[in-house]
């Protein structure tokens, strides 16, 4: 998250979670006493210790890929494919890319400019959101377990292609005037 263009992250999501968690912890202590409070703390500290090395690996991979593979290379190779090939390539890239939103959205924007293909851009973003490997390994599996995550991903496997295809069909019907109007 280092090349974030502007870190507008005085982060109401962080603080809302902080207040929610603090409130919940306080309520557990008040209602059920120290024994239960500490029991929950011990259980979740274990989960925390389990996740930390994965998060560290995930951030390392993210930083290394960001530095080693230039964005232009990815955008160019994704913009090259047309029809289903383009959607498949974009989906694969979204699954594999170990990056955060400040990398993924500019890449998708570059796709729109370079190939003018809204379908590939939508497939890329959706695959990153729904099927991203890095996210699943680092965050989702520790919380939910491999069974839930595997089932969820299997059930979602079709989605980036379908979203990309639908976006491409609809974008082709939009006139430049409609796009400009929608941008107001």
């Amino acid at each position: 998250m280092s090349d974030a263009p502007q870190r507008r992250r005085i982060d109401w999501s962080f603080w809302s979670v902080a207040i929610l968690s603090g409130g919940a912890a306080g309520l557990v202590l008040h209602r059920e006493g120290w024994a239960v409070f500490l029991e929950v703390l011990a259980e979740d500290s274990l989960l925390f210790v389990e996740i930390v090395p994965k998060v560290l690996a995930g951030t390392l991979i993210g930083a290394l890929v960001r530095l080693l593979v230039p964005k232009e290379t990815i955008a160019a190779s994704l913009g090259a494919g047309s029809s289903w090939r383009g959607l498949l390539l974009a989906t694969a890239a979204g699954i594999l890319i170990p990056a955060g939103p400040f990398t993924v959205f500019p890449l998708a924007a570059a796709l729109l400019v370079a190939g003018a293909d809204a379908g590939a851009a939508a497939a890329f973003i959706s695959a990153w959101l729904l099927l991203g490997i890095n996210r699943a390994l680092v965050w989702e599996i520790p919380f939910f377990g491999a069974h839930f995550v595997g089932l969820r991903m299997l059930a979602s496997a079709w989605a980036p292609l379908a979203i990309g295809y639908a976006a491409r069909l609809l974008a082709a019907r939009m006139t430049p005037a409609q796009k400009a109007e929608a941008a107001e």
Binding site: P5, G22, V36, K54, F144, A146, A167
Partner: protein, 163 residues
Amino acid sequence: MILLLLTASLYVVVAALMVVAVRRKDGTARKAIEFTAKDFLHLLPRLVLGVIGAGYLARILPQDVVLALIGPDSGIRGLLAASVAGALTPGGPVVGFALGSAALKSGAGYAQITAFVTAWSLFALNRTLIWELPMMPSWFVRLRILVSLPVPLIVAALVMLAA
């Protein structure tokens, strides 16, 4: 055991990339470590909160309410409720997963939590506002969201069929 293997394989990838970076001899490796330190310090407090907070939330979520709203037998209405809740849950890597696993512990259904996680992934409002809209043309963002609308329900229905 599986988790251990997963972690190990992550570090194999790290090692391979690190070798490439060090061989470049242009400071890429050092830069990568600087980036990582910054990112990691940014994530750490969020991680503590997300993980520890989820445990307490799971403890206080009223099970009968969770069951009635998004339990395994809550049907289509439960899927819709979970999808809307997911779209309204703030973004950030931990929040949705933490809340979802808390709800699962309190008796929510697999399919309902799939709808929640999918909707949160596709639509999380503050990610769209903070990251996507400033970087992408707004016609595209609307188009992406429009065509993604039915996805959480369909994915959850598939999970329901499989389970």
